[in-house]
Amino acid sequence: MRLRKNLIALMSFEELEHTADIRIRVEAATLEELFSEAAQALMTIMYGSISPGNIRRHVEMDADDIISLIQEFLSEILFISEVEDLVFSGAEVRIAGNNLIADLTGEPFSKMKHLGGREVKGISYSDLSIGRERDSYILEVIFDV
């Protein structure tokens, strides 16, 4: 089960072409899953691989629109991860309008285990989009590295 979860996390986003930075595309059935998958994608890029842990963090936020909400959500995860030395592998997200509540789970950062990643400096608004394709939500976002 553990391995499967991990595999799902790794397969849930794809890296698109971008010369200087990292541009990814995430696809999910619901908006909540899209946010959750995006969080996992960010962590996978930063730390190479992620695996489940039992540390929990709770975040709540409001934004003007859904684009600002994803930008602020990912920026907040980046912040907590860096200052608390945590690597998140899961995010249970609830969204009502432009309000978000999320419970994050993860494990402590380990230099030995999490050395395969790249430092993300920020979540860019450039070309940040959330759209619908058939039954899926699609997110495209650029991480400055």
Binding site: T19, L115, G117, Y125, D127, D144
Partner: protein
């Protein structure tokens, strides 16, 4: 290349008004035919987007290392009128005052017999890579002093010499810093990271002076053929990244409040003299000072290692210069024959002030400001100097590096970190990084050739070559 782009001179191109709706001024960029082959439409589009911003003066500019970024293109330069212009984090980037400095030593290549040991000692002395923590234990008050004092604060703490400060842009401390505009969250990120190199394209490199193009200038900079030098490339770490993230949010609101229409949300901006604009400038200047202190502390660590290992006096390792290449500054320039104060944004571009500029130390007054252009791993780096031509044509700006041409995804598919490391080792270049992935990402082939980029700025006259350095050993974050 996008339709409508006109060539004005062998190395100069114009993006006419109308390329994107709402352009107020034409775009202009510097490029050779060779570099034009890898020019991305996305980068030109971003250059044109910048031209739509209120109060932009003369042109939206890009240097020959132009490539697709976010907000401004990388290599982008734009000046805005103080009275009716705007300031934008999209014209500075997340890594505020990412910059580079070059330090000389009295050593020659032949003195460097224990290169691997030296690299290892430097790697152990300078905290490097994702999750690396500082050996400094800053108090809240000390961080506050660092945000206003920059490199000057670092020197007062014992990390360097007074003369270092004269050899930094802004003497290592930018005026107008407002620590009050730097949030508790930004400070929380900054506290444990002062004096750390970071990751990504940041590096510390041991180099040798291989070629001198301008002997007198090289002499003024304290350089001689075969000399060992050290280049340090890093920025304001998480503190600057957080400042950018938070002020971007505030300026998003301000964009709407002031009725500014923009083609890209990353260009979120506010009038320079508005409360939001002033707060961003104050926080950005404080972050820039953090970065100058950071490079000063790292340079101190490097000097200590060299001093101990080669038994050379600390003060014989002089700083040639330190430049910022992601920053917005209030500067005086002559526009249409009139001297005026403007806010110059440089995003992946370097200040290149010509002879006589007020900010220069005595030894560079007649030469112009030293400009440092780092190469990529395995390729040459260059020292140039600013020119009067740059003052006239680019608000005293030039390129900042070689500019990427290959995405990270392609780079990883092309060569593994191990392969890159081995091929560089065959050329005598030792690479040390926390993991091999960091090496593949930044391999030499992913960048435009640095010699072609500097050839363009030299030929266009916006800076002139002094010397070329070759890498001997690299520490990558």
């Amino acid at each position: 290349m996008l339709p409508g782009i006109k060539r004005l001179a062998p190395f100069e191109w114009e993006v006419p008004i109308g390329t994107v709706p709402g352009m107020r001024v034409p775009g202009r960029f510097f490029l050779s035919d060779e570099l034009a082959k890898t020019l991305e439409d996305g980068a030109v589009q971003q250059l044109a987007n910048v031209a739509t911003m209120p109060g932009i003066i003369k042109n939206s500019l890009a240097m020959p290392d132009i490539h697709w970024g976010y907000g401004f293109p990388i290599g982008g330069v734009a000046a805005f009128s103080i009275e009716d212009g705007v300031i934008s984090p999209g014209g500075v980037g997340f890594d505020i005052n990412c910059g580079v400095r070059i330090l000389t030593t009295p050593l020659q290549e032949k003195d460097l017999k224990k290169k691997r040991e030296l690299i290892e000692r430097l790697f152990n002395a300078v905290p490097t890579g994702v999750g690396a923590k500082s050996t400094l234990r800053l108090s809240y008050k000390e961080l506050e002093s660092m945000l206003t004092g920059g490199a000057r604060w670092a020197v007062r703490q014992g990390f360097g010499m007074e003369s270092d400060l004269l050899h930094c842009e802004e003497q290592g401390a930018m005026g107008g810093a407002d620590p009050g505009a730097v949030s508790a969250k930004a400070r929380q990120r900054g506290m444990p990271q002062s004096g750390t190199l970071g990751a990504g394209n940041h590096f510390l490199e041991i180099q040798a002076v291989r070629e001198i193009f301008h002997e007198k200038a090289a002499g003024s900079c304290g350089l001689f053929p075969g000399q060992i030098c050290i280049m340090i490339h890093c920025g304001s770490r998480g503190l600057g990244h957080q400042v950018c993230t938070e002020h971007l949010r505030v300026l998003e609101g301000a964009t709407k409040k002031y009725g500014i229409i923009l083609p890209d949300r990353q260009l979120a901006c506010a009038p320079i003299l508005s409360p939001e604009g002033k707060a961003y400038f104050g926080a950005m200047a404080a972050s820039a000072n953090y970065a100058w202190a950071n490079r000063q502390v790292i340079m101190h660590m490097v000097r200590q290692v060299f001093s101990e290992m080669f038994d050379i006096p600390y003060e014989e390792m002089t700083l040639v210069y330190d430049v910022a290449h992601n920053v917005a500054k209030m500067e005086e320039h002559i526009v249409d024959g009139r001297r005026m104060k403007v806010c110059v944004h440089r995003k992946g571009a370097t200040r290149a002030f010509g002879p006589g500029a007020p900010d220069l130390p005595r030894e560079y007054v007649s030469l112009g400001q030293p400009v440092i252009i780092p190469g990529s791993m395995g390729t040459s780096s260059f020292l140039l100097h600013g020119t009067q031509e740059a003052m006239v044509r680019t608000f005293g700006s030039t390129c900042h590096g070689s500019g990427r041409i290959m995405s990270r995804t392609k780079a990883k598919k092309a060569l593994s970190g191990q392969e890159v490391k081995e091929s560089l080792a065959a050329e005598g270049i030792i690479v040390r990084a926390p993991h091999d992935g960091a090496i593949a990402d930044e391999a030499p082939g992913v960048y435009k050739p640095s010699d072609e980029v500097v050839r363009v700025v030299d030929s266009a006259g916006i800076s002139r070559l002094i010397a070329r350095f070759v890498p001997l050993g690299v520490i990558k974050g």
